[in-house]
Amino acid sequence: MDQLINKRINEVLKGNQEAFEEIVTLFQHRLYHVCYRMLSNRQEAEDIAQEAFVRAYINIHTFDQKRKFSTWLFRIATNLCIDRIRKKKPDYYLDAEVPGTEGLTMYSQIASDVELPEDEVEKMETQERIQYEIGRLSDKYRSVIILRYIEELPLQEISDILELPLGTVKTRVHRGRAALRKQMGNL
């Protein structure tokens, strides 16, 4: 897989833009999914994931081909997501259905600073609830919990993606788990 990707990267470096399409096709779902989990919003996830690919394209000459491409790509995307979260204001409509999600309402897209009454939370479907709980985590913990438990990446890889020492990643995973447990007291 890495060999194929490096081959395509070299073609891109030679000026063949079409070769980049294959790279996007290979990683689109994983990258979009991470962005969606980070941002709790499909439109924003699409925008940020696409932006991440654009930045990867522009900076492709800085990618060290001895390293794992997905790590580099995830780094670009998580940085963009964190920037977006920090700028984000809660300005959406709670009852609006998220396009293409069959009944998934904006309740699952609420920023971490909004708490719902417990009986509202209890009415949520599992998938909605999962995203709600992830969204309540601070961005520090959210990124590690997503990479660890949704992307199922090893701690070392998360440390490479977030450019944090392994010890810091472990601490954040621990605190993230503790925060989830506290949030979900009524599970």
Partner: protein
């Protein structure tokens, strides 16, 4: 739980990360056998993680790749008309 050694919570997380030593794991297990509040905490942590792991995989919308390609800066004309 306040009387429990602080180390126990660290062992729980080390266990969940799959990087606990055999000795520490033995200490943890011994403790959990006699301490219901720590056992409860352990169960809750495992439950929280398992809940998050139920997240369904969501695919990028159709047209995603085309969208990226459309957003790329125009190709530098290296191959073609350069003289």
């Amino acid at each position: 739980m306040n009387t429990c050694p602080e180390q126990i919570v660290h062992y729980m997380h080390a266990y969940l990360d799959g990087d606990i030593s055999r000795d520490d794991e033995r200490v943890l297990n011994e403790h959990l056998k006699q301490c219901t509040s720590c056992q409860e905490l352990m169960d809750d942590l495992i439950g929280a993680v398992q809940f998050i792991e139920k997240a369904e995989h969501i695919q990028a919308p159709s047209g995603f790749v085309d969208g990226v390609m459309a957003r790329l800066p125009k190709e530098k004309s290296q191959a073609g008309i350069q003289r």
